[in-house]
Each structure stands twice: as structure tokens, then as C-alpha cells.
């Protein structure tokens, strides 16, 4: 219990709109331990980024947390005010966003942005903060950090900028890092470097990392455990090796089937028929049921759930029972 850095219970995120309330995240329960990387995977719009933003308290209005609780090392943080939450953001929860090209303010040197963040959270003098900024740049693998610290973001390549973003997330040694699609905007070869860096930092510093991505390959390489999301709900949670080897939920099976393999026989990639439902048209019962080959009667009536680890599927449960 004490090792749980992040605990999300029954989280529900809603967007009140003119045409009724949309539920972007529904009944999601997750936890991440120290030194563990939890991959959250799903298609665009599955609610995975929304979950990350809810944890950071950065949901775009009118989005709001409608139910559930979020705890950081045992302290509840989902009901804090903006000012209280600010003490957590950057200090105890670091964030890495998708596009390193747009995450940095183009008008300030990276050093200035680092120093500003460090001094926001730690009682350091300007020169100590600068020294720490250089250390951080060294740690994330930026060559010649003493010179680079005074450069502007546009003078860095995409991969280097993402390293700067990671350094910014590390400024105050957070317990938890929310990495929202950190490699999506990067070249494949640089992706591997960035995930490698994240993995090393996570293990060395004992941070908990929530890695949000739609790329099952990145998850397979980086994460310890994985949570699959579909239409705002969890479908399957479990150990990454086990899930890659033997996915159980029909949706996860479909996702795995869509990964090209380098070693196996050349075969046609499978694809899941249909599209993920829009938020205003989520079907009754299991959200995946209209696309599911293993649908049984119960699937169109009751919503299957999963917490801790396991699979949210009536068909799988049926099979296990019989």
C-alpha cells in the first residue's frame, strides 16, 4: 500500500455541453507503484489523455471530475483548489506532453524556463538554480549543456527538445510523471532514445510513470504494466508481457493483431471493423459490443468492469467460468 504513488479510483470525467453531458472517462481505476511504468493505451478519444489531465488538474473547462478519487502517495488531490493543486504540479507530479515543438515557450531560453520552474518549487538562488538546470540537461543527455542552457527552443532538434521537456518535468524530483504521448511526434529512432531515457530515469529515481500512448509497440518496450482504454472505460489491465503474449479482451486481441511483426511469417494485419463510438453515442452495456466478434447477450445490457488487474469482458468471464 505504501508503495502506491498514484491511486485513481472510479474516476469519471464529464463535459457538460449544450447537447447534454458527455462522459469522457468512466469508472477508471488505476494505480502505479514507485519505479513502475504504467502504459495507458487506446485509440484517439479513448479518454487516456483525459485521465492524465484529470490527474494534473488541467482539464479544459467545462470538463470536470464528476466522481471518483485521485490520491498521490495516499493524499487525496482531486478536490484541491487551483492554488493548492499548483503546489503539486511540477513539484510532485511532472508532465511531458506530446509535441516537444510546441511545449516550450519560443521566446525564452531553455535555461530561463528551467530556472523559472526550479525556483518556483525549490528554495534555490538564481546561480544554484542555473547549476541545477545544467545538471538536469546533462542527466537527460543533452551534449554541451553549459552552452545549450542559453539556447532558445528553436535551436534544438525535436528529440533534443523532448529531452528538455523531460528535464523540465524532473526539475523538482517529482514522485509521478505523466507522459502524454511523449514519443508520438518523434522519429522512430529517436522514440527509442526517449523511451529508454524515461525508463532509466524511472528505475534510477524510483519515480512512477504513467505513459499515455496509442502505440502498443512503445508500451511493449517500455511499460511494466498496461491498461487498455476504450471509449472512456478500462477494458483490460495487466502485466505487459502477459498481455502481449496472450491478450484476453477481444479489443486487446484486435490491437495486438494490428502490430506488424518482424520475426513471424508475413501475414495480413488484422483490423477491427468499425470505429470507436462518439462520446454522445456510447452503446448500452459494453462499449465495444457492436464491433465485437464474441458478443453475448449480456454485453448489450451490463457494463463490464475491471479494477486492479484483469479483463472487463463478459465473454471472457463466461469462458473462465465454464
Amino acid at each position: 500500500m505504501s508503495d502506491k504513488v498514484l491511486e485513481v479510483e472510479e474516476l469519471r470525467v464529464e463535459f457538460p455541453t449544450r447537447h447534454g453531458v458527455l462522459t469522457a472517462v468512466d469508472g477508471v481505476s488505476l494505480s502505479i507503484d514507485r519505479g513502475e511504468i504504467l502504459g495507458v493505451v487506446g485509440e484517439s478519444g479513448a479518454g487516456k489523455s483525459m485521465t492524465g489531465m484529470a490527474i494534473l488538474g488541467l482539464l479544459e473547462p467545462p470538463g470536470r471530475i464528476a466522481a471518483g478519487r485521485i490520491s498521490l502517495s495516499g493524499e487525496r488531490i482531486d478536490q484541491l483548489t487551483e492554488n493548492e493543486l499548483r503546489q503539486y504540479r511540477g513539484r510532485r507530479i511532472g508532465a511531458i506532453f506530446q509535441d516537444p515543438l510546441t511545449s516550450l515557450n519560443p521566446l525564452f531560453t531553455v535555461g530561463k524556463q528551467l530556472v523559472e520552474t526550479i525556483r518556483q518549487h525549490l528554495p534555490l538562488s538564481a546561480s544554484d538554480a542555473r547549476r541545477r538546470a545544467i545538471e538536469l540537461l546533462t542527466e537527460v543527455g543533452i551534449p554541451a549543456p553549459e552552452a545549450r542552457v542559453d539556447h532558445y527552443p528553436h535551436q534544438f532538434s525535436g528529440g533534443m527538445r523532448q529531452r528538455v521537456v523531460i528535464a523540465l518535468a524532473l526539475c523538482a524530483e517529482p514522485e509521478l510523471i505523466i507522459a502524454d504521448e511523449p514519443t508520438t511526434a518523434l522519429d522512430v529512432s529517436i522514440q527509442a532514445q526517449i523511451t529508454g531515457l524515461l525508463k532509466r530515469l524511472c528505475k534510477e529515481r524510483g519515480m512512477a510513470v504513467m505513459l499515455v500512448t496509442h502505440d502498443m509497440g512503445v508500451i511493449a518496450e517500455t511499460a511494466d504494466r498496461v491498461a487498455v482504454m476504450y471509449a472512456g472505460r478500462l477494458t483490460e489491465v495487466g502485466n505487459v508481457q502477459a498481455m502481449v503474449r496472450a491478450p484476453r479482451h477481444p479489443y486487446t486481441v484486435g490491437l495486438m493483431g494490428a502490430i506488424p511483426s518482424l520475426t513471424g511469417d508475413v501475414q495480413e494485419l488484422s483490423q477491427i471493423p468499425g470505429n470507436m463510438p462518439r462520446l454522445n453515442a456510447i452503446p448500452a452495456g459494453c462499449a465495444f459490443n457492436p464491433r465485437c466478434a464474441r458478443r453475448i447477450d449480456k454485453c448489450t445490457v451490463d457494463i463490464p468492469t475491471v479494477s486492479g488487474s484483469g479483463v472487463a469482458c463478459w465473454a471472457v468471464e463466461d469462458e473462465v467460468r465454464t
Partner: protein
């Protein structure tokens, strides 16, 4: 950077030559200068002699070159009306207009920018609505109406501030300044408010629009995720990214303000260039008009060039054309 500067200066010089050509054409062809200068008793030979003396028989290009040559030295000839050197006349009037425009510009920035940020940040509050409505009123009211209303309220009814003139001025070299006397400062208040009102609302609406745009960008969200207080995020990170268009607008508008000042100066009988120009128009005093045209366009061009250079200062991406790509061993 030097290449950039040279290019900008070349452009500026070219524009000025074109304007000089227009001014020259007005000077030369709107009515006969000789007719304007001689009195009715002059004989035909007097006129021919004057024509020759003024060089009006030379080729068009020669005359143009001569006009540009003397304009560069600040020589625009003699005013038809009061037989004074035109440049001296304009120079006497210039400080009045310049001080008025500068005060109006400063007012528009120190009021417009914060109001713009506030209306963008507190979009859903009553205060922001009030400012927005106020800004529509500000944009819609013509400047002379504002001027007359201000005079009516603050000079006629309340008697707090002077309704016309510049008050006492202090001479610093050839420059006469109203900044250093109480009456000079008091006289500046109403005209500068009247001149800046439109400008304030313009700046405010521009800042608001830009802020709304910038506040949606990733780096603002990331700045918040780094735990920076909202005040820092709004006033440092977001605002600085809005300043480019504000600088452009303010720069361009200084030229416009000098033109608008014509109306304000007339309403408040402000002894500036605008009033001089209006008087020159009434008396068909062409050398004064030509000098005014040249001077105003020179200011326009100067400001535009300065704005471009300021860009390079505010935005580091424009500072050096060749970005230093680093970390290639690891990054690529």
C-alpha cells in the same frame, strides 16, 4: 542581421523617393508656382525671370533631383502665405504634435494592454463584459465628438482643465516642450485622451484576441503543468507571445495618430503640424503641404523600419537566420 538591416533601409529609401516624387508633382503642377508667388503688377518678363531663377524651365528629372536634394537637406522653400522658411514653420509645430502623439500612444499601451489581458483571462466575468462593451463604444465614437464631449464636461462644466492651446512651454534648443510646466501638462490631458481613446480600444481588442489564441497553445498548458502560478503564465509567458502584433499595430498607428491629430488639434486648437496643415490647405500654401506630406511619410517609413528591427529583438527566431542545430550526435 546586417543584411537584414541593409535590406530594410533600401526599402525605406525607395519608398521615400516615391513619396518625394508625389510631393514634387503636387508642388510643380497643382497651379503655377510663379502665379502664386508674384503679385498682380508683375510684368511678363518679371515672371519669365522668376521662372528661370526657380529653375522651372529645366527638365523634369533635373527639377525632381533638385527637389529631392534640397528636401534631404530639409529645404522645402518659402511658405507662400507668410514668407517664412517652411522647414522652420514645421519644426516649430512638430514638437507639439509629437508630444501629443507620444502621450496618446503611451496611454493606449498602459491602459489597452492590461485591459486586453484581463478581458481575455476573465472572459466569463462581469468586469470583462463591461470592458468589452466600453471598447465598442470607444471604437464607434468619432474622435471629434469625444473631444467636444471632453471639453464640455471637463472644461465648460467642471472647469478643471483648459479647453484649448498648449499652455506654457519650455524651450530646449529648438524643441518646445509642454512636459515641464503645470499648464503644459494640464493642457495635454484632454487632447491626448481624446486622441488615444480609439487607440486604447484597438490595443485592448488586439491583445484580447491574441491572448485567447496564445492561451490555447501547448506551451501555456505545459507552463501550468510545470506548476507556475497563473499570474506568471498569463503576464509573462502568454503576454510576451502577444506583443509582436501589438508592436506592429502601435508602430503603424503612430503614423495614423499623427494624421488623426489633425482632427484633435483642430478641436483643441492645439498648435501642432495638423493645425498648420489645415491652415495651409485653406490658403493653398503648397510648399507647406508638400513638406507636411514628406514629413508624415518620413515618420511612417521610419516607424515601419524601427518596428521591423524591434521584431528581431523580441523574437529570437528572427535574430539569426541560421539556427544553431546542436546535439546532432544524439538527436539525429
Amino acid at each position: 542581421m546586417i543584411a537584414f538591416l541593409l535590406k530594410r533601409l533600401m526599402n525605406a529609401a525607395f519608398v521615400m523617393l516615391a513619396v518625394a516624387f508625389l510631393a514634387f508633382m503636387i508642388f510643380r503642377f497643382f497651379g503655377d508656382p510663379v502665379e502664386m508667388m508674384v503679385n498682380e503688377q508683375a510684368t511678363q518678363s518679371d515672371r519669365a525671370e522668376l521662372r528661370e531663377r526657380l529653375g522651372l524651365n529645366d527638365g523634369l528629372l533635373t527639377q525632381y533631383a533638385r527637389f529631392v536634394g534640397s528636401a534631404v537637406q530639409g529645404d522645402f522653400g518659402i511658405s507662400y502665405r507668410n514668407q517664412q522658411d517652411v522647414m522652420t514653420l514645421v519644426a516649430e509645430r512638430f514638437p507639439a504634435t509629437f508630444e501629443l502623439v507620444i502621450v496618446a500612444t503611451v496611454l493606449s499601451l498602459i491602459i489597452g494592454v492590461p485591459f486586453g489581458v484581463l478581458t481575455a483571462v476573465y472572459q466569463d466575468r462581469k468586469l470583462a463584459d463591461g470592458l468589452q462593451i466600453g471598447s465598442i463604444v470607444g471604437v464607434s465614437l468619432p474622435s471629434f465628438v469625444v473631444g467636444i464631449l471632453l471639453i464640455l464636461v471637463f472644461s465648460v462644466s467642471l472647469g478643471w482643465l483648459p479647453a484649448f492651446g498648449r499652455g506654457e512651454t519650455v524651450d530646449i534648443g529648438w524643441w518646445s516642450s509642454g512636459f515641464f510646466t503645470d499648464s503644459g501638462r494640464a493642457a495635454l490631458i484632454l487632447p491626448s485622451i481624446s486622441l488615444s481613446l480609439f487607440q486604447i480600444t484597438l490595443v485592448m481588442r488586439l491583445v484580447r484576441a491574441e491572448m485567447l489564441e496564445v492561451l490555447r497553445s501547448d506551451f501555456i498548458k505545459f507552463a501550468r503543468a510545470r506548476g507556475l502560478p497563473l499570474s506568471v503564465v498569463h503576464w509573462r509567458h502568454a503576454l510576451r507571445n502577444c506583443l509582436m502584433p501589438v508592436i506592429t499595430l502601435t508602430g503603424m498607428q503612430i503614423g495614423n495618430l499623427i494624421a488623426f491629430a489633425l482632427v484633435t488639434e483642430t478641436v483643441f486648437q492645439w498648435p501642432g503640424m495638423g493645425l498648420l496643415f489645415i491652415q495651409a490647405v485653406t490658403f493653398v500654401d503648397i510648399p507647406v503641404m508638400a513638406a507636411y506630406l514628406m514629413l508624415v511619410s518620413f515618420i511612417f517609413v521610419l516607424i515601419n523600419t524601427l518596428v521591423d528591427i524591434t521584431y528581431a529583438y523580441v523574437d529570437p527566431r528572427l535574430r539569426s537566420e541560421v539556427a544553431v542545430k546542436g546535439g546532432s550526435a544524439h538527436g539525429h
